[in-house]
Amino acid sequence: MTQPAATERTSRRALLGAGVLGAALAAAVSRSVAAAPLVSGQEAPGLSAADTDLARFAMQLELTARDLYDAAIADGAGNPVWATIREHHEAYATRLAGLAGLSADTRIDAVYDALVGEFDGSPATAALDLENAAAATHAELLGLVVDDDVAAAMASIGSMEARHALVAAQLAERTDFDSLFLNPATPLSPEA
């Protein structure tokens, strides 16, 4: 691996930690929302327009994570744990889409494009950052979403993503307790 590539990887990784990605994500989400069949402001039966938008945002983040793990597996990431986590993210997207009456078919391309270079055959560090960001985002969304069913789903998903992060940290051979047990990620926000 060349030094410039390593530098680029580090800077991309830093995007997640610094939360800079939030702005790009917000723009991407705005575009996705506008293009989706169920436009912002429309609501699923029993779900407010605001909750529908929040569920869509979370669903798109989950699909983005799924596709990033797909890229890592295609690049040779052979540990079966990545395939399992990939399946989990797809299931999370399906669950959120079902609650919101959406189709689970739209990832956030801007986020995917920014991170896909990190998800190579050894994705542990990138996975740690992604899972931390996802868990932090669900915690943040829980402070916004009103519907109890969506909230329960997000709590359930966020709980497991915290475990994913711990596993990724172990596979990344992190030994310091802060890396293992704390989540330094800035939550991604559709309103950033």
């Binding site: 744990v81 829980l142 402070g143 709980s159 497991m160 915290a162 994913h164 711990l166 596993v167």
Partner: protein
């Protein structure tokens, strides 16, 4: 073959009809089960004031969460005193205790912010109904090290599940975020302990079409990734020595319910 009864005259028909109506009324009366539901009482003394249903509000939920943190700290204190943990495991437990202390402080600040009174001690129901029996069952254990790690793992899993359960109950949405952040750390503790007990496989084989394994005491082997979604089902813990029939003490830790909640009238 049905035959007409020649003895059934008009008067008898009327009488039978009256009986039928009476029976109908009786059956209808028996079918009405909407009578008083209060427990019966003896004597003529005043009933006294009725006890109001305690209010389950955000302060109660936060006090309950704070009590769980103190419960965890107390259990770790007892477990550390047994002297069966390796230096690395002792370091891990020390870190967990620090985290639980921090969580308790964060919850305390949230309680203060709502004008409530902090509950800076163990959950009384859990202590009496779960922790004391669990610690008592360790006497004579054939593998104290295994049991202590399993207790720690179960307790952290229970804490993580409890926060997940509490999140949806908060009226103040901002409290959900705080609870989820703390709950996420408990989940990480649980996953780390699962890896300490069972380094491989990381994922519960049941998630990939296989079968989960059990430990030598019959307790399910823990996995760092035990399920696809965060579960709220009871957490079964098995500890202590086997009796003559090979049975060991076991208990199920359930996420907070009416008995476990720390109401505002309760104090340490």
């Amino acid at each position: 073959m049905h035959r007409f009864n020649p003895r059934l005259d008009r008067r008898q028909l009327l009488r039978n009809g009256t009986i039928a109506v009476s029976m109908g009324a009786l059956v209808a009366a028996c079918g009405d089960r909407s009578g008083p539901t209060a427990a019966g009482r003896l004597g003529v003394a005043d009933e006294g004031p009725s006890e109001a249903e305690p209010d389950v509000n955000d302060i109660v939920l936060l006090r309950t969460a704070q009590s769980l943190e103190y419960t965890a700290m107390a259990v770790y204190d007892a477990a550390s005193g047994l002297g069966v943990l390796s230096p690395a495991e002792t370091d891990l437990v020390r870190r967990f205790v620090q985290d639980h202390e921090r969580h308790a402080g964060q919850l305390g600040q949230l309680i203060d912010g709502l004008g409530g009174e902090q509950f800076t001690c163990e959950n009384p129901f859990l202590r009496e109904r779960a922790i004391d029996p669990i610690l008592g069952a360790l006497d004579g254990s054939d593998d104290l090290h295994r049991d202590v790690l399993n207790i720690a793992h179960s307790l952290e899993s229970f804490a993580g599940a409890s926060y997940q359960a509490l999140v949806a109950q908060f009226e103040n949405l901002g409290l959900r975020r705080a609870a989820m952040q703390i709950g996420g750390e408990e989940q990480r503790h649980s996953a780390a302990l699962a890896l300490a007990i069972n380094p491989r496989p990381i994922v519960n084989p049941e998630l990939t079409g296989g079968s989960a394994d059990v430990q030598d005491n019959g307790m399910d082997l823990p996995y760092a990734i035990p399920s696809q979604f965060g579960l709220l089902t009871g957490i079964v813990l098995v500890v202590g020595p086997a009796d003559d029939e090979g049975t060991r003490f076991n208990t199920t830790l359930q996420t907070p319910a009416a008995n476990t909640l720390v109401y505002e009238h309760q104090s340490c």
